[in-house]
Each structure stands twice: as structure tokens, then as C-alpha cells.
């Protein structure tokens, strides 16, 4: 049938031409939803100031972004993965094996805050030990006052990031484990004959009786949960807190108020580096990629007076080293 032949050839031609057109002219980024706002601010300014089209930035989570970047080389894979946690050594090796050289570019630091609604007064100061005692799976406390009489007599209800978030790792290491050590549970576990790793794992465990709720969505979901449970305490990134100071306030941790200054100086204990991973082999193929990376870490953007710091990123005191590193990418 000539008609069918014609139809088939048209279909195959269109598919072929679509594949031929895969060559793209903008940088493609995905990953951490914590880095997403910063990356979108840079992408927007990049599109305005350069002759390259605005890069596209997707969310999806740190792990998912790194996985997509390490999938392979080729223009239908992403170029840059935003990440709020560091790549583990095994993943780093495996990734380099598949896609060639990868560069880790640190853009600054992010603080993690324990915040609650303004009307839920009294949570001005918390310590990792208190949080551990309240949220550990060994805890039977039902009120914050049970944990420490200095705290308000309010039922324990915490909304913490789910396990797919990079933030969870920081919460486990810098809050739960730190608290576990202060309280002495960690030492007890070691004394009982546990290895280091299993003992740490034991400290990470949060209670499952409903007093601690995992939030798999974004901070907006945590905020909505606080609306429904005004006595609840939520874990938020610093920039999210800064955008919502009309509804929530953050507790000091170990007596230090979370702010860009205290995080930069290292006084505020719960912070983590933010970074993105660059697939070096794409730099020569995607127009504007190198320029984007350099623009991202320039003083104008990532410096202490740049738009990123204004939005809540804690700028990296060693930014010039990162700039040199980026310069060398080929």
C-alpha cells in the first residue's frame, strides 16, 4: 500500500530528524532542591548577561541529580548535578569510571534550623542533646519539659526531612549523633561491644511512635505541617526561614543564633557545604557551560555581597580557591 509506505517513511524521517536535533544550546542542571533556588538565581542572571540561553535547572533531590549525571556521557544526559551532600567515595569512583573526570565545585554553606511557629513560644534555645533525648527511638518523653524542665511543657512533635533528602544526613550526623555522644549513649553502645559504624547507626534512629514525622516533600510541606500542628517543630534551611519570618522563628542551637554570619564563622553547629558536580567532558560540547560555572563562583554572584548571600547562602571564605579550580576545568 503506497499510503502506508508514505506514512511509515514520514514517521521514520521525523524520528530521525528529532534525534539529529538533540544537540542542545543550553546547560542542563538537576539535583538538590536546596541548591535549586541559588542555581535558578544564577541561571537567570547568566541568561541576562551573556549571549547564551538561560540554563535550565531541575530539582529532584541531591541523590537523584548525582545519579542522573553519572548515568553516562551524551547530550541527553545532564551536565551538572546540584548537591547538598558530598558524594561518597564509591560513588565518586564509579561515576568517574562511567563519565570521565568530574569536578566538585563548592558554592557556599547552608544552615539548618529548628523552627517553630511564632505563637509556640519558649523554644529559644535547644541543644543537640535535648533534641536527641526527645527524638531518639529510645525516648519515651511525651513533652519537651520531660526532656529538660527549662523547655516549655509542649507535646513533642517534630517534622524532620525524609531519608531521600541530603538534609537528613546532616541532621543525623550533626544533631542526633552529637546529642547521642553528649548524653553518653554512644559510649554505652561502644562499651556494649558495638563497632563504631553500627553504634552511629543506632544513634541515628528516630522514634516511630508519631512524635517524629518524616517529610519527603519540600520545606513548604513542613511549613504546612506546622500550620496543622502549631506545637510542632520543623527542620528548615536558612533561606526558607528567612523567607517566612512572619510565620516561624528559629531556636538557637548551643546558644548560637542561625545566621549567615554565625554559619560562616563556624559557630553555628548545624551547617553543611553546598556544591555542584560538573561533568568535565561536557564542557567543550555545551556552549556556555564553562562561562556558567565561572559566573556561579565569581565574587559578583557567590561573594558575601552577591545575590546568593542576600538570599541566604553563606558564602565560602575560600571562594578564590574554588575560582582557581573552576578556571582549570577543561
Amino acid at each position: 500500500m503506497p499510503f502506508i509506505k508514505k506514512l511509515l517513511s514520514i514517521a521514520s524521517i521525523s524520528v530521525l530528524s528529532a534525534t539529529a536535533l538533540v544537540a542542545r544550546d543550553q546547560v542542563h542542571i538537576a539535583g538538590s532542591s536546596t541548591v535549586l533556588p541559588y542555581a535558578s538565581i544564577v541561571a537567570e542572571a547568566f541568561g541576562e548577561n551573556f549571549d547564551f540561553p538561560t540554563p535550565i535547572v531541575e530539582g529532584g533531590g541531591s541523590g537523584a541529580g548525582r545519579k542522573r549525571m553519572c548515568e553516562g556521557v551524551g547530550l541527553n544526559t545532564i551536565d551538572i548535578a546540584n548537591s547538598s551532600s558530598l558524594m561518597k567515595q564509591e560513588q565518586w569512583d564509579a561515576c568517574q569510571e562511567t563519565v570521565g573526570k568530574v569536578t566538585e565545585v563548592r558554592i557556599g554553606y547552608d544552615g539548618i534550623t529548628f523552627s517553630t511557629r511564632l505563637e509556640n513560644e519558649g523554644f529559644n534555645d535547644l541543644t543537640p542533646a535535648q533534641i536527641y533525648l526527645a527524638l531518639s527511638d529510645k525516648s519515651t518523653a511525651s513533652s519537651w519539659a520531660d526532656v529538660d524542665p527549662a523547655l516549655p511543657d509542649v507535646a513533642i512533635k517534630a517534622f524532620i526531612p525524609g531519608t531521600k533528602h541530603g538534609t537528613r544526613e546532616v541532621f543525623e550526623k550533626k544533631v542526633m549523633l552529637a546529642g547521642c555522644k553528649v548524653v553518653g549513649t554512644y559510649q554505652k553502645l561502644i562499651d556494649e561491644g558495638l563497632e563504631k559504624k553500627p553504634a552511629e547507626k543506632e544513634c541515628f534512629k528516630v522514634r516511630t511512635d508519631g512524635s517524629s514525622v518524616d517529610i519527603d516533600g519540600d520545606y513548604t510541606e513542613t511549613l504546612a505541617s506546622l500550620d496543622a500542628n502549631p506545637e510542632g517543630i520543623g527542620v528548615f534551611g536558612l533561606s526558607f526561614l528567612l523567607n517566612n519570618t512572619d510565620k516561624i522563628y528559629a531556636a538557637k542551637v548551643n546558644g548560637v543564633e542561625p545566621s549567615t554570619e554565625t554559619i560562616a564563622s563556624g559557630e553555628y553547629p548545624v551547617s553543611r557545604p553546598l556544591q555542584f558536580y560538573v561533568k568535565n567532558s561536557h564542557v567543550s560540547q555545551v556552549p556556555g557551560m564553562k562561562e556558567y560555572i565561572e559566573f556561579f563562583v565569581s565574587d559578583e554572584i557567590a561573594g558575601p555581597d552577591g545575590p546568593l548571600a542576600e538570599y541566604g547562602l553563606v558564602s565560602d571564605p575560600e571562594l578564590s580557591e574554588t575560582q582557581a579550580l573552576v578556571e582549570a576545568i577543561e
Binding site: 534525534t19 535558578s40 537567570e44 531541575e58 545532564i78 538570599y311
Partner: protein
Amino acid sequence: MTETSHTNSLFNVSSKTKNRNAAERRFRIYGILAISIGLLMLLVLASTIILRGTSAFQQTFITLDVDLLESKLDKKGNRNVDDIKKVSTFGYSPILLNAMKKVLEKHEISTSLKKKALGGIISKSAPSQIRDFVLEDVNRIGQTVEFKFLVNGWIDGYIKGRYSRESVANSKFASAEQFDLIDQLLEVGVVEKKFNFDFIFGADASDQRPEAAGIGVAMVGSFYLMLVVLVLSLPLGVAASIYLEEFAKQNIFTDIIEVTISNLAAVPSIVFGILGLAVFINYMHLPQSTPIVGGLVLTLMTLPTIIISTRASLKSVPPSIRDAALGLGASKMQTVFHHVLPLAAPGILTGTIIGMAQALGESAPLLLIGMIGYVATNMPTTISEGLLSPNSAMPAQIYEWAKRADPAFIERAWGGIIILLIFLLTMNTMAVILRRRFERRW
């Protein structure tokens, strides 16, 4: 006379009849209750959407006379475009600040605000607005031009009643002094709230400038998605259903196909997204985040709906018409294309429109093929760019906005919902009108 004969008379209703009538009355009340609960829900939903969303269509603007100073924009003074391009948007901020100070002087308003807070009243999109204007024609440097800029989202939030002086007490982004100044500027007419066309036609903006974000590019993305869906699923769906309905023999094989199609229609849309990622992106290497991939995925989703409704409307054409045509010597194909298909066309179109309306509101499969994020930034200029350059779609854009930190984006999400609903309403109304006007009953 016994009592029973009394109760059976037409005038004296028996207790059984009474019960029966009461049951009917009760059932009617249940029905009315069900409808009124439904209506109430609809009312609550519609009024919430309208109450929260309409404010997105208005935005606060500030009018400033900007001196395009040569000393800042073209230090060499040779009007060389490449040199002028080197001045980034950050270099344009001082000009804006000057313009702001000038307007305050003109209206004799004094303020204690520092440089940063004063400049912060204007949206961060303003410098690029001036820069684009200058680069369009470099001879404009040296002139004084009147610009209308967006006002920062926080200040706009104050004018719309989202923030008050108390609620920004702890805020790093806005202050009560800024609100005081805005009140004065409102009075003299430098600042005004106006309808914002850029919300409907503009591109997405970064987290730092919610006031500049628009749904326009995502709308174009949705349009291309629908184009792909229409071009692929209508011919495929109609061909498949004509063959199945008119030509294929009824056997186990066609029965299996039928069951499969009905099952496919009930498959959750996210599954099609995973399929699209695996087949179109990972295997066929089509570019990510593009409307062509999104359209292909949505086609898979819409096809079963179209096939089912097309088959139903083909079935509803009475056999006598086929018999008459065949009896007059028409071939099977002539019968179908000359008689059956035209009579079934209104039903097919209705089914297609409803299927497309469903696809238009779909965001879950788009999540997996990368159409959600800071994506809808460049307005495509050609059809091939529209199909092959990364874009978002309306529901995906709404979802993206609802996730962002600044509450100003939530307002825009509600506004986006209004626009999406208008599209869906139009499409569904069109389907109803088509059915009413052209449908034949036998």
C-alpha cells in the same frame, strides 16, 4: 366494615403506602443533599481559587525617570556594543538608585533608608529591563527615559495585604520603613497597582524575584504538548478504532486487545512518565525536558481514552446505514469513510477534546521527563524550537511555584490555576457544544 378495607381506599392511605411514599421522599432528600454537598464543595473550591488567585493578576509598579549615564554604561564613550555588553546587570543598579533618589527629591519625601534597602524596593528584574533597552540601541545612552518597573515581591505583598509592619519585624528582606516610604509614594502616584500582563505572557523567574514570574512560556509549552498529542493520537486512535470496530473479526485476539485498551485507560499517569523516561529518553535518546517527549508520553496516556470514545460513537451509528450503503454497492471502506465516520465525527471530536483536557491538566508524568523546575525561561520563536527546546507546562509550572519558599509564589500558583481552569472550562464547553449541535439521535 372491617378496618382493613378502610385503609385500602384511595382516600385513606395505608401504612404500607405511607412508608413507601416516605421512603421516596427520603430518597429525594438524600439526592438533593448529595447535590448540594457537591455544589457547596464546588463553591468553596471556586471561591478559594478566585480569592487567592486573582491578586496574581495585579502587580505593583513604580514609575521612574532613569538617566542612562554615559559614565556608568559606556566609560569609553565610543558606543561600542561589545564594550557596553561588558557592563553586567549589577552595573546598572547605581543608575536605578539615582533614579529612586531623584523621584524622592522631586516629591520632597525624606527617608532614613540605606542604599540597599532603598534599591530593594525595586524588583531585581529592573536592571536587566534597562540593560535590554540600552543594548537595543546604544545611542540611547545619555538620555533620560521613563521606565515602569515592578516593585519587589515583599513590598507588593504589603500592598496586597500579605504582610504588615508587624509581620516583617524579623525579616531580612523587608522593613516597616520601606512600607512607610511606599505609602508616601502611593499617595503621590509614583507607585501604583495595575493589571500585570506579564503574569499571563511572561517567563518564569528565579526564587529571588517572584514578582517577575509569569506563566506565558509554560502556556506555550502546554500548547506544543497538545499539538503533539493531537497530531499523533487523533489519527492513530481513529484508525485503530475503525479497524477494531468495522473490520476486525471478533476473536480472542481482538478481545485481548479490547481488555488491554480498557486497562491502559485506567493506568495511573505516573507510569506513563516512567515509560517515557525509559523509552523516549534513555533508549531513543530524544532530548530531555522537551515538549516533544512530553507530548509523546501524554499521547500514550490519551490514546486509550480516544479509542474507547471513538469506538463508542462508531457503535452508536445504526447498522441500517451500513446495510444501506453496502446494499447500494459501496465497498466496506467507502461505507466507513463516506457514511459511518461522518456520522460518528461529533462523538469522536468530543472524546478527543475530553482526552486532551485530561492531558492538559497532567503534571505527574512531566515530573519524570524533566519538565518541572526552573525550566520555562526562553520563549520559543519557531515551531521546531517549540518542540525541541526545554520547556515546562502549565500544571508543572503551578506545581513548581507551590514548592518555592517565598509565599509570593503561592499566590502565583493560585493565579496559574485560574488560567489553567479557564482553558479546561473552554475545552469542556467546546466538547458539550459540539455534542449538542452535531450529535444525531436515532
